[in-house]
Symmetry: C2
Amino acid sequence: MSKRQIKLGAFIPTTSQHIAGWRHPESRPQDHLSIDYAIELAKTAEKGLFDAYFLADGLSVNWSHGSSKNTTGIGYSDKVAGFEPVTLFAAISAVTQHIGFIATASTTYEDPYILARKYASLDHISKGRSAWNVVTTIASSTARNFGNQPHPDPKLRYERADEFIEVVQKLWDSWEDDAFTYDKTSGQFYDLSKNHEPLHHGKFFNVQGSLNVPRPPQGYPVIVQAGQSEDGRELAAKYAEVIFTAQQNLEDAQAFYKDVKTRLVKYGRHADDLKIMPGVSVFVAKTEEEAKEKYALLNSLIHPDVGLGLLSGLSGEIDLSTYDLDAPFPQLQDNQINFSSRQQMMIDIARKHHFTIRQLYEFIASARGHWTLIGTPEQVVDQLQVWFENEAADGFNVLPPSTPAGLNDFVELIVPELQRRGLFRTAYEGKTLRENLGLNRPENQYVIAKQRIAEAS
Amino acid sequence: MSKRQIKLGAFIPTTSQHIAGWRHPESRPQDHLSIDYAIELAKTAEKGLFDAYFLADGLSVNWSHGSSKNTTGIGYSDKVAGFEPVTLFAAISAVTQHIGFIATASTTYEDPYILARKYASLDHISKGRSAWNVVTTIASSTARNFGNQPHPDPKLRYERADEFIEVVQKLWDSWEDDAFTYDKTSGQFYDLSKNHEPLHHGKFFNVQGSLNVPRPPQGYPVIVQAGQSEDGRELAAKYAEVIFTAQQNLEDAQAFYKDVKTRLVKYGRHADDLKIMPGVSVFVAKTEEEAKEKYALLNSLIHPDVGLGLLSGLSGEIDLSTYDLDAPFPQLQDNQINFSSRQQMMIDIARKHHFTIRQLYEFIASARGHWTLIGTPEQVVDQLQVWFENEAADGFNVLPPSTPAGLNDFVELIVPELQRRGLFRTAYEGKTLRENLGLNRPENQYVIAKQRIAEAS
């Protein structure tokens, strides 16, 4: 068996990760909607041998992440408006060969048949390089765009997510891998005995017919998940093959890693079936001083309205603008607590460091609460190595603070240092995302059922 | 003003148009799900200067179009399972420069916010080459995949389609063209005064918030429509910029052309705002005899099960397998009549030609009731020219009977003859699909409203 190595995702919206990243001198915000620029970023990540290009997604304008709607456009980024990720990745897949694509989509506001179709199609188009980051949608304002009924509570969202994934996997299994025979001589296009209708009737969904896309090359696109709540961890343990998580320190990361890997057992899964990839924001330069300057430069570009908007978004749309920016972060009222993992993370950070509001948003700005590393390639890789070798991470989802500068820095400075230590690949191992991540290709559930029936008789 | 010229669409699923096209010696059914093959077809069409690549779509396995589910896989084509068109076109757009993309999607089973997003994203990705073919979904079996409630009747489907398009256009107008300022110095990413929320509350939809994709390069992707019923024509007159229609002869095509163009007036539209493009299947060769051989070859490859399945699909899932193939086409019972334009077309053809069931499916097989031309380049272009110059067509949606052979024939033999007569472009006129089709770029409805208010005050 080959040596265990670090897996890497590149979380690279065209307008940068750090909330002021688009104001970096080398950033190209005017290329926000440029497919050529998005392709350029993907090719840089592919040159850096990243496993996958990751993009978040939502189904509403996320005003709280930039400025509030009441201010005048002091804002940022893809959170307001940008590409739809599945279409973007389909385009990028046509001009890349190896990098995978992790596109986010919501189980609360999308439909399972339509979602199963687009990911299956992306998997065929990319020749097995697609992944679905399953989210349940936190932003309650999304409900305004889908009938304007109340946004479901987390418990209900996770219950629906569980059934949603079940339905989508049934749809992906509608056709066995070799169902299409294309026999010109007999005229047989497909073997009907290798078609299976889901005939699903559950609490949330009634989906009877087969998917009209053949089984994806990967069997299923890779299932990715990011929730950190109790329900989120349980859903991940049942289905996820990659977890994108926000962890601030080694102890917390280890506790999370152990907790989730342990939960796998009850679902008949093995620890290797799930790769845990904490997010990490890296400011790297040849000297530590230069790296610190890079960090300070971006923080100096944060407009206070944007900083407050960021905290408001994380906190569940609490308005902090009436508080003094340079006073200690306030105690939240009972009716402001929403029990989301993102809000809890924010509160924990503020308490631990005794931050003011301004200090808190500067701390979170680089990667919205993800681990932030600042230093030389050796210093940064030392830290990554500790997490990787001590059951805190199987890899990292990299959030370059700015694009293209932060991404270029990672590829030019961190990747060679990882390779020098034997911690990272020097060439892609496989053709599909699953092969590169070291994940098994799932068997078709209907084929398994047929085999069981045959064995029993 | 430049001379009026023919517009051309290429309706080219990877597995051919003629129901036995995939069995043609040059066809490559095994490349059914090959993105490389789909790209090759698109590049051939682009070499032929086609305005757009057109793909139909549905949200269920269309068993009736191949064999019924009770037979053993004698079937055909993309109707059973294939790519999802928006993702496919996104991929193809990355490796082409000029050809447009007409992707079909349903107003009955999709959601307006999600649909508006994917087409807006495709328009950005393709730099203004996208179009939406609006369908209301005829196949009642689709309902099985979306809650298994009864499939809505045509009246209700068209009512919903009307409101659906209205919502989607509001969403595309959420941001004015110059709403995004990307001002690094001030930190202003967008100008909030140029954002407009739809705040739509109608019979079918309640959509409050803005789209989280900036306004498409074309303003709106081109709106395409294909329904021929009374409701379909009215919807087309209100919104459509291209109509894909099935017409068998000059008189009917002229009547349809006149009827729809006349309806435009009441919506404040001009005849040039809508391009009428009948479908046409072309069997062409250097000699008439050779062209007829091409036609006979494909008909000889039709499996009777597939022929019956084709008629069943067109007729609204009527089972004709109990009838004698070589007896006259039967009179339908009252409870079998579904008033769809496709069923009516089938009945009209059978009556007019006194066809048997077998003769009917052979006649329809090449392009499911679309106009079929067989002959030399001169003979075929003579006919196209008559329609184009006598108010029967502004262009044609070409359904090559087989791919790649039928498409290659069209590009190599028909296009040069059209160009020789000055009926077709020798280079693309514009950069966007709208520019090539000669369609105006729609103004933003909220900008128009602001201007009206300013003028009134």
